[in-house]
Amino acid sequence: MSARVGVITFPGSLDDRDAARAVRLADAEPVSLWHAEGDLLGVDAVILPGGFSYGDYLRAGAIARFAPLMEKLVAAARDGLPVLGICNGFQVLCESHLLPGALTRNTGLHFVCRAQRLRIENAETAWTTDYEEGQEVVIPVKNMDGCYVADPETLDELESSGRIVARYLDVNPNGSLNDIAGICNEAGNVVGLMPHPEHAVEALTGTSTEGLGFFTSVVKKLVAA
């Protein structure tokens, strides 16, 4: 039986179809979850996709956090459900306090879309075991509010406990502190990522296929479990 990975659609989600495609390419079954439902439909993992939920009005992710399904998700994540928040999904995870810190306006004040080189810093989270620690990959970034900020204690804590999942190389596209592109929670089941691995799963349409590892990692883990 293949793993079932839920993809939540909020009003204004944009990359939900892409996330579902990536799940499929990782040989798992994508399950659409609608923000207003009260049930996770028994999925084995959840992706919060990129986009502009609620138009990014107020603050990116601020309104989506209150979706009925999020209450269920927060509880399940605390119990160890693998959760990946991509871009807007990362913002929602921070707003929900599943991950520390916040994502603010890019320091360049422009939306930035580019093929971005990253280094995978932690290859032990639920979503990164198919990478090597220190591996460099090229994955698109595209965001307006991707500047990761946190207070110095939180940053120290993230750094010292190995909770930086990925870091920008060459160019820091949004001014993130410590070049942070992604982080995880203490248990490593919840990962937030600014770049879009779901746009790097097919050589034809992406920058590479180097994003597929995020999806295959979790699928392997689920199948093994």
Binding site: G55, Y57, I63
Partner: protein
């Protein structure tokens, strides 16, 4: 050193999509009874020198040309 506050709001006749989105979301978040939300910007500006007429005029000019877009926004200015 003088400190000014400039508050910029959309003109009432201009669609405030942000404010409306917040207002539409509120009941779902358990906040009933909110009839309107408007969202604008607030600037805190510190300038060298005293908070005199001249400084106020300079900040007003700034607000007119840069902080607010007179085509769709209005602003209020006060010293603090």
């Amino acid at each position: 050193m003088a400190r000014f506050i400039v508050e910029v709001m959309l003109k009432p006749e201009i669609l405030d999509s942000q404010g409306q989105a917040v207002a539409r979301a509120l009941p779902r978040l358990g906040f009933e009874g909110v009839t309107q939300v408007r969202q604008g910007k607030r600037f805190e500006i510190e300038v060298d020198g005293p908070a005199d007429e001249a400084a106020t005029e300079r900040v007003r000019k700034m607000a007119e040309t840069l902080l607010a877009n007179p085509v769709i926004e209005t602003f209020e200015l006060r010293a603090e």
